[in-house]
């Protein structure tokens, strides 16, 4: 009120003024808020209609953000790659990448969903079902869970035995139509389709079958141990085409 007075006294014949600043400011803020709330449904709608692609056309859409805990990528060549499987198993084994490729392969197209919000739809995955590896080594009585280790010597993960037997939980050696690249966790990584991305440990080096759930790196840092995408306590619809 005071200020309106002061303005008026400065220029007595002041022309009528419109609060454009406030309107544009509120308009932009509303646009931002609408984007936060509705973007996901708009993007889903368009990927249904156009068969994806919308996100890819816009800044920030459909793009992997490459994270690494250590600030570095462990580089492991195909030839040197080994996957050690040990713990409560009848036949502890160390697999080469050829061993894994010789097993029955599984491939499907599924989104990679990060817990912080970014998402890459329609990623092609190929590898061997974790359940097949477990069958190969033979799980002993008393086994409850698995722990996973990474060549980066920092990341660890865990799954219950039940989770590990889901059909879309795989040890992946191909991704996006090519061998898994180093930045994506190659040559071999885990892909846990029904859970958030942090469960899909990169640069997989070892699997251990154990008698209790041991929270991994991200879970020690506050993420849920069961990282189900839908926030429930279990998968609501395991992919029918895989069962």
């Amino acid at each position: 009120m005071m200020s309106a007075h002061r303005d008026a006294s400065i220029s007595p014949k002041a022309p009528k003024r419109v609060p454009i600043g406030r309107r544009v400011f509120i308009g932009l803020a509303a646009l931002g808020a609408a984007g936060v709330v509705f973007w996901a449904s708009v993007a889903n709608f368009f990927s249904g209609v156009l068969g994806s692609g919308l996100g890819g056309l816009l800044p920030g859409g459909d793009r992997f953000r490459i994270y690494s805990i250590t600030g570095n990528y462990p580089t492991v060549s195909r030839a040197n790659y080994r996957l050690k499987v040990s713990g409560l198993v009848h036949d502890p084994r160390t697999f080469t990448i050829e061993d894994l490729e010789a097993m029955p392969s599984t491939s499907f197209t599924k989104a990679f969903q990060c817990v912080t919000g970014w998402r890459v739809p329609d990623v092609r995955w190929e590898g061997v079902q974790l359940s097949h590896i477990l069958k190969t080594v033979g799980v002993k009585e008393g086994a409850v869970a698995l722990t996973f280790e990474s060549y980066d010597r920092a990341d660890t993960e865990c799954l219950t035995l039940d989770q590990a037997h889901l059909p879309d939980v795989i040890v992946a050696y191909r991704m996006l139509g090519a061998p898994v690249t180093t930045e994506h966790g190659g040559p071999v990584r885990l892909y846990v389709a029904p859970m958030f991305g942090y469960k899909s440990l990169k640069w997989l080096s070892a699997i251990k079958v154990v008698d209790g759930v041991q929270p991994g790196y991200w879970e020690e840092n506050g993420y849920p141990v069961n990282g189900w995408l839908d926030g429930t306590t279990g998968p609501t619809n395991p992919d029918p085409q895989l069962t």
């Binding site: 022309p15 419109v18 609060p19 932009l28 803020a29 709330v37 800044p59 953000r65 490459i66 919000g117």
Partner: protein, 215 residues
């Protein structure tokens, strides 16, 4: 009275930005600069191979981001913020002529205010983007409190506005470098009355009226 633009007299200069405004502008510019510089490796992480220190970069980005509103809030509050508050009001309120000038992209005649409509729009956009980036950036950081679709939305809005900010800031810098007198005023505070007569006639008249009244 005729105002020869060449007259370089001390007496004929006008204070366009006081010390508080200049400090606020440059603190804000510094924070934007750091945010934009750190945003590049965050966005293109996989591109340049600079992921090496992604978490360090992200930490700098976060803390700089949280500090972003501070200079402007401080400059607006308190007794030192009189000029700042007056200019906010000035930027908010537009005459019909200003609206027409903006719509025609400068084709219609205008006796400009202290800031022309383009400059006003730049300030309004900057203010809005601070609020939007702060809100969406906080959602990226404290994502646990938000449903997954909102996290996706926040990521998208943060990226989309970052893109717009880059365009606007580059435009702002180009305009500054091509308008030396305006540029000097954000360093020194002063413009000549001649400059005001040419570029900010309405402001000049207003200041003269004020001076006349107080004498």
């Amino acid at each position: 009275m005729s105002l020869a633009p060449t007259m370089p007299s001390e007496a004929l200069r006008m204070l366009r930005f006081d010390r508080v405004q200049r400090s606020a502008h440059w603190s804000n510019a510094l924070l934007f600069g750091v945010l934009m510089a750190t945003a590049i490796p965050l966005y293109f992480g996989s591109f340049f191979g600079v992921v090496l220190a992604r978490h360090v970069v992200a930490e700098i980005h976060l803390w700089t981001g949280l500090a972003l509103p501070i200079p402007i809030i401080i400059s607006l509050l308190g007794s030192w913020g009189v000029q700042m508050r007056r200019d906010v009001r000035r930027i908010n309120l537009w005459t019909r002529e200003e609206m027409r000038w903006m719509k025609t992209l400068g084709e219609t005649p205008l006796v400009a205010d202290k800031f022309n409509p383009g400059q006003k729009l730049n300030s309004i956009f900057t203010a809005a983007s601070i609020v939007i980036m702060l809100a969406t950036g906080s959602m990226l950081q404290w994502f646990r409190f938000f449903p997954v679709p909102w996290r996706q939305g926040a990521t998208f809005v943060h990226d989309a506005f970052a893109f717009a900010i880059f365009l606007v800031v580059i435009g702002h810098i180009v305009m500054a470098l091509t308008h030396r007198d305006s540029l000097r005023s954000i360093f020194t505070g002063w413009v000549s009355e001649g400059w005001a007569a040419r570029h900010a006639g309405a402001w000049l008249k207003e200041e003269q009226a004020k001076a006349g009244r107080t004498e």
